[in-house]
Subunit: 479 residues, 2 copies
């Protein structure tokens, strides 16, 4: 077979040793915090039935699903369907060849359901909902689960957007115990602990409440237009105030209504101060005042007052299933403007799968964007190395190589990562290998060392050199 | 939308909290050993181009690939191809509708290349080879990489066989330093350390050498029939000696040749003894003697003589790319007869992608089968719990709940995983939650405790109860 120049699918990436270590550094930090707050791990399969995925992410989301071609003779049922249509003249011949015999009427979208029944996980929320429904009788509620896995979207790749990327979600759900705003407080502290631990100090959690948005809708026009307002102001960053005014104007909002709307969502000032202003403006809306009360509880009960928690009444988060507090996290340092985390409270996670009354609240971390921010801000610890090896044994010939083996075993038995250069190569070549991999120590065995049962140990960072017995070496490295 | 009863795709599984903890227990043990032996992590994307995957796993493997349907109007190029054929009468009209206008000539296999260009990772070796070729100029050789990721095969699900399963691979490759048999020794010790750590004590590493198989072929008939012999005796377990004799007989092997073959591969006894017998039988084969020498080096240099290393000249491992030592690991306890690990030495990993001279040796652990063995043999540590939470704070009303919050924060600040039951429910309900999750301590706050600034701490395993300040509690749990 002719040699091929291999490539990767668009929007996917390899992670070499140094990359994996950095990504694990992030994942471990987040996971440690999740566990400390009582969340338990869940993993779901990469493939889900399309019946589970479709219709959950809107029309745009359905387009972005990666679908798996059925195995075997996958065209069989499409052909059967086609034959059936041909034999039934009354039906629309969607899949029928045109009179010329060409297949021009074959429609990709309509054909899909005949040749594909599985798709790749698009997010972690829908599989979580499916899991809760399938295992409702084994689960102890409130169920606090975390999930850290890749998801796939056939999106146009661009800065901060990949076709395979990782989400790290934590949710509390259940009929019992999940309504408490203490959950929101915990989730905010999880964000703070994780980002602080990672060195992303200058981050900002913007917070709003869907009930406040409902109150705004009520005051502006009527509570029914809450979703129209949410969808429009969600694009404020991209299309600006003029764009939002235009979009809502086309939906029948008057200039006066829009002035009221922007008068509210652009209130500026200290959290406490703007909550008071809002309370006044929404005084006629029961729902709105309930939302303000929730926000007030969170702001006053937050046990870490230095958390950068900013009220933002223009924060909407597009997804219509949110019903209470909503969050979005951005880094104020660096060039990435997209959010590195987000979440909120929802009332009906599992209704679509036939299980009512499962409410909850959750947050998500975007691993790949956090990675990009940390890389740009140089926040990865200098001591993160691609290899874990602490000591490379170097030698000059067969005899000295064999002399290294029992020492190598002793080091490993002591739990120290070590290796021996496996071939007889010049010492320089062996040290090149150690330096390239940033291995901190070389234990060199020549004729003399072998006779004296020692090693010449070189610290490859400082250049210092000393003669050591194997026990001294273990003490030196094990420090 | 009507409620759906959700299901999972065939051969895939969810892993709930307790399962994930068990799987992580295995993965962590293996990873720790990989790192101690100087291997570095690599992760490759879930999707690979089909041009990378196809033709690498034999015809059977190609059938088992999961293929991704192209995005957008994926039928377009199929239709274009069809139109082209229709306008060119001289060509075979593979995709043309029959005269009746039906699509009966549309062939699934032939259509695939027009509608799918990506597939799911089938193993970790081909993506690794692709990575090495694409990054050859950045890699320091010998390159010792490990990779622990899921792979997908559209196989018929059965015991020990899933459609999504995890492999944990470690390989040493390169032009420099990868030829040394020290690598084989390290890999054997990795198997031993990992399985011992996991409690799979009664495991067996069967070992053979492809050069020995070549020598056997030479002695039996001719070195050219090595692959025929390897392919046939690979099925010895399934089809027995009679089946192998029949298969090779049909390929022109005489009874005498088959007697010679079985006289060799069924030699029984101590490793040393059977190597001596083999040496005599293969004395006319230079290649065979080289293989014996390699096996002898490994057996005599193995620094842990208690490793259960068994010579098995009938071990062939079907894949034709092996060229030296080959391994296969099975558990002698439990009912799973399939291998839980395997590997070997190969000469030309990356040739198919245009990079010659990359040789190496590697092993693989099968996570899911190891899990099944450990579950059957009850080898998971009793202290593995689904949650990490050590302390659940319990309360009786709003006031006592709020009293718990600063204490909860102090525990978490001390690095202790803790949570507060987030709603006002009866104490019994709160303790049920703690017991169901096997949380070891409940810190109960009533009116009296609040007044005295203490907690009643109940050890939920022993039932013991004591009154503690928060500092005493931290000391108690942090032990």
């Amino acid at each position: 077979m002719a040699a091929q120049k291999p490539t990767l699918p668009k929007g996917t990436r390899d992670f070499g040793p140094a990359d994996v270590q950095k990504r694990k550094h992030i994942l471990n930090a987040i996971e440690k915090v999740f566990k400390k707050y009582g969340f338990m791990p869940l993993e779901t399969p990469t493939m889900e039935n399309l019946s589970t995925l479709e219709g959950k992410y809107g029309e745009e989301g359905d387009k972005l699903l990666f679908r798996i071609l059925d195995s075997g003779d996958y065209l069989k049922s499409l052909k059967e369907h086609n034959d059936k249509i041909l034999s039934d003249e009354s039906q629309d011949a969607t899949f029928a060849p045109s009179v010329s015999g060409k297949l021009i009427d074959l429609d990709s979208k309509a054909a899909t359901k005949f040749i594909s029944e599985k798709g790749l996980r698009y997010d972690l929320t829908v599989p979580f909902a499916r899991y809760v429904v399938m295992h409702r009788n084994e689960i102890t509620f409130p169920f606090k689960r975390y999930q850290m896995q890749p998801v796939w979207r056939a999106d146009r790749p661009q800065k901060g957007r990949y076709r395979e990327f990782w989400q790290c979600d934590a949710d509390v759900v259940g009929v019992v115990g999940s309504d408490s705003l203490l959950n929101e407080l915990d989730l905010i502290q999880i964000y703070d602990e994780a980002f602080t631990k990672l060195g992303i100090i200058n981050y900002e959690i913007r917070i709003n409440n869907r009930k406040v948005l409902a109150g705004i809708a009520e005051v502006v026009k009527s509570i029914d237009v809450m979703n129209n307002i949410a969808v429009a102001i969600d694009k404020l960053d991209k299309i600006g105030e003029d764009g939002v005014r235009k979009e809502l104007g086309e939906q029948g909002f008057s200039d006066e209504e829009l002035n009221t709307l922007f008068g509210i969502i652009t209130i500026k000032g200290e959290n406490k101060e703007i909550l008071n202003q809002l309370k006044d403006k929404l005084k006629s809306s029961h729902e709105g005042l309930k939302g303000i009360e929730e926000l007030e509880f969170i702001l006053t009960s937050n046990p870490k007052p230095n958390i950068n928690l900013t009220l933002d009444f223009s924060l909407a988060r597009g997804l219509s299933y949110y019903t209470g507090c909503i969050f979005e996290v951005t880094s104020n340092d660096g060039t990435l403007k997209s959010s590195i985390g987000g979440g909120g409270r929802y009332d009906n996670l599992t209704g679509i799968f036939g299980l009512p009354n499962v409410s909850g609240v959750g947050i998500s971390f975007g691993l790949d964007r956090i990675y990009d921010v940390m890389e740009e801000l140089k926040l990865f610890p200098a001591q993160l190395r691609a290899t874990s090896t602490q000591v490379l044994f170097c030698h000059f010939d067969e005899a000295t190589l064999l002399y290294c083996l029992p020492a190598l075993k002793l080091l490993r038995d002591a739990g120290i990562a070590a290796e021996v250069f496996p071939d007889n190569k010049k010492l320089g070549k062996q040290l090149d290998y150690a330096n390239a991999l940033q291995i901190p120590f070389a234990a060199i065995a020549g004729e003399t060392e072998m006779q004296q049962q020692v090693f010449t140990v070189k610290n490859l960072i400082t250049g210092e050199q000393q003669t050591c017995t194997i026990q001294t070496l273990i003490g030196l490295v094990g420090q």
